[in-house]
């Protein structure tokens, strides 16, 4: 039962990072690929009906982590207090700019929203990348599962490491590739052309960097990521947009699974003492709570997946970014 719920937690995080990943990427690319107000509006419209449903996967992921593994939830969120607070603020700004952009008084309002959208989306992606690196590296957990320290550095230090910087860079790259392939898939006209070109250059350029990194770190995972990046770039070039997006999404899913299962049954390593690391069993809720969750989850989650899929079908039509001659 505990392992089953661990995998449900992994699934919720995977869906969050893949689904919000593309709309974060679209957010960063909006002012870059949209040359004027009309094109930028078209770009926002590709994610307009979806971003909110995608963000609920974060609610689900954090909620299920809390429900099934209260000690894991407690250690992560209290140990990473300030980065989490920053994340929440950025998510607040981003969500509101997306929804308010088209309903403000004038073009200056929309320009300001575009700027905030891109900046907050980019910062969120960087922060998540750093946080995922911390999930792997672990926190300075004491015997009671808490992180001790003084002042602001207690919860800021973990994300100020070289590993966290690498994680941030990797996450930005992944989100940009997801966003570019998504835009290529979901638009027509100049935005689609530019998104395809960008996906091609990002895919091939990223592959080159990843190959070098993979050799330097002698890591098969990084070399696999290089191959996928190259494949996505080539697919985008050849107009296989759906396949390019699916490949990138699959790679992001794989990366998230790799992060969350990096230490087997240890869900959060302690950097101070191995025996203080948090294991799946120690973090889990009682069997009563897990049974209750199973009863609800088995009924609800397939339904959620079904109606979310339905909304993607309803809004499947591409968004036109070219101007209609009046």
């Amino acid at each position: 039962m505990i392992t089953f719920w661990f995998w449900i937690v992994v699934l919720a995080w995977v869906l969050f990072f893949v689904l919000e990943g593309f709309d974060f990427g679209v957010g960063v690319l909006e002012p870059l690929l949209g040359r004027d107000d009309h094109e930028r509006g078209a770009i926002v419209r590709t994610i307009g009906p979806f971003w909110d449903g995608n963000e609920v996967w974060l609610v689900a992921a954090i909620g299920v982590t809390f429900a099934a593994f209260p000690a894991w939830y407690s250690a992560l969120l209290s140990g990473l207090y300030l980065p989490m607070a920053g994340l929440l603020l950025l998510l607040a700004v981003r969500g509101v700019t997306l929804e308010f952009r088209g309903k403000g008084p004038d073009a200056a309002w929309r320009r300001r929203c575009d700027l905030f959208l891109a900046l907050s989306s980019g910062a969120i992606v960087l922060l998540w990348g750093a946080l995922l690196a911390v999930f792997v590296q672990g926190l300075a957990l004491g015997p009671d599962g808490s992180v001790r320290g003084g002042g602001l550095s207690r919860s800021l230090d973990p994300i100020l490491t070289p590993a966290a910087a690498l994680g941030a860079a990797a996450a930005l790259f992944a989100a940009l590739l997801l966003g570019a392939t998504f835009l290529a898939l979901r638009t027509t006209g100049p935005v689609r052309r530019r998104a395809r070109t960008l996906a091609r250059w990002l895919g091939t350029g990223g592959a080159a960097v990843l190959v070098l990194a993979g050799i330097a770190m002698s890591s098969r995972l990084v070399l696999a990521a290089a191959a996928i990046s190259l494949a996505a770039g080539m697919l985008a070039r050849n107009g296989r947009e759906a396949l390019a997006f699916a490949t990138t999404a699959l790679a992001v899913a794989g990366a998230v699974v790799a992060v969350l299962t990096a230490h087997g049954h240890v869900v959060l390593p302690s950097t101070l003492n191995d025996s203080w690391s948090l294991t799946m069993t120690a973090a889990a809720a009682t069997p009563t709570a897990l049974t209750l969750l199973t009863e609800f989850g088995v009924v609800i989650l397939p339904g959620v997946l079904a109606y979310q899929a339905f909304s993607y079908v309803v809004f499947r039509r591409r968004v036109a970014s070219e101007r209609v001659p009046s």
């Binding site: 449903g53 909620g63 209260p70 607040a92 929804e99 308010f100 952009r101 959620v304």
Partner: protein
Amino acid sequence: MDVLDLTRLQFAVVTIYHYFFVPLSISLAAVAAGLEIAWLRTRRERYLDLTKFVGKLLIVTFAVGVVTGLVQEFQFGMGWSAFAKFYGDVFGPTLAIEGMLAFFLEATFLALWYFGWDRLPRLLHAATIVIVSLGTVLSAFIILAANSFMQNPIAYALDPTTGRARLTSFHELLLNKVNLAAFPHTLAGAAMVGGALLLAIAVWRLAAEPAHRTLARLGAWLMVAGGAMTALTGDHLGKVITEVQPMKMAAAEALYETTKGAPFSIVTTGPPFPSFSLDIPWLLSILAKGSPGATVQGLDDLQAQYAAQYGPGSYIPMIPVAFWTFRLMIGAGMLAAAIAAYYLWRTRKNRDAPTWLTRWLPLIPVLPAAANTLGWIFTETARQPWIAFGISKVADGISPGLTSGEVLASLIGFTVVYGVLAVAWFRVIRHVSRQPLHPAETPSEDSAEPAPVY
């Protein structure tokens, strides 16, 4: 301020702020659903225009509710991790089920509804907003169940090995008698504040848009009905609370001595002012126990009883806060309902409201919003020092290791960003309200709104 007080203050700030948008979303979703059904049945263009208008108010408000609600989901782990661990078995599943069952419904179907005017068949389209509305109500029910556990912990057992609360029955948790009393009270409060927003906007724009007359009267009716319901449900809630937390009701009246036939004071002054109290005899006994001669326990007796039961320490909450929030809640709510009723009277049979009334009515949402906020401040502060009544104190719930620098930094961050969001929300609501209800040109192919959108 030490780290505990800062963390409490932050929780109060982000939760109170979030709660400005929650009741608005609950009531606006229901109003939008009602208006769309009215349009389907009557085919009157006016109802369609108003549905779309309320939909815009809803989506703008819902967005702020979502992003500030996300903060709630994280708060328990960030600031109150000891409590989250202790109470995770009870609270975790409740939050998770709320997210999976209700939040997904609201977010997905609201987008389907808002962007789906020309993509979905009419009946299915109307069904989506009905689902959104049901989702908001379901959300409220489940979240209030979690709060009701803190007011009146039931359906749990303390695990002897871990010392943590273990859930014994989920349906008992949901059907907590505090929840059954607080849920209708909360919905009635939501109807009032949503009605007030509609009344305010409609009265403001009435000269430009005659169709707003429908909305103004609808808003006023919601306020009157909501006001009557808050009074009835509040009376019941007061009796339940007297039963499970007698200290809270004693604090609401600042009743120090156990009294038979206790009065209820409308206003009271004390030092440095001359002592004065305007009392309604027996009212507190009626409110608390339903009978004018009933005995209401006083603070001093309860303090002695709790000290014997739970060990030494003060179990008396902040009396002036409890006393005044309780009164002002009732006062603000009833005043709002009375003003709405007066508006309905003056506008009966197509009459026009007097100018002085229409000039001040746009400020009306402040009253029910204040009543909601004061009600929550009362509920939460008058439970102190408990985080979950009788089993866990606030001071034991805070995250171990948390520093005051961290909390101060995040508190400043939330205050600044939330302040900016409030201004942006207000500007968007104002701008949306100024747009013509019935667009001159037909909406463009891909959007729910007249161009330019996005």
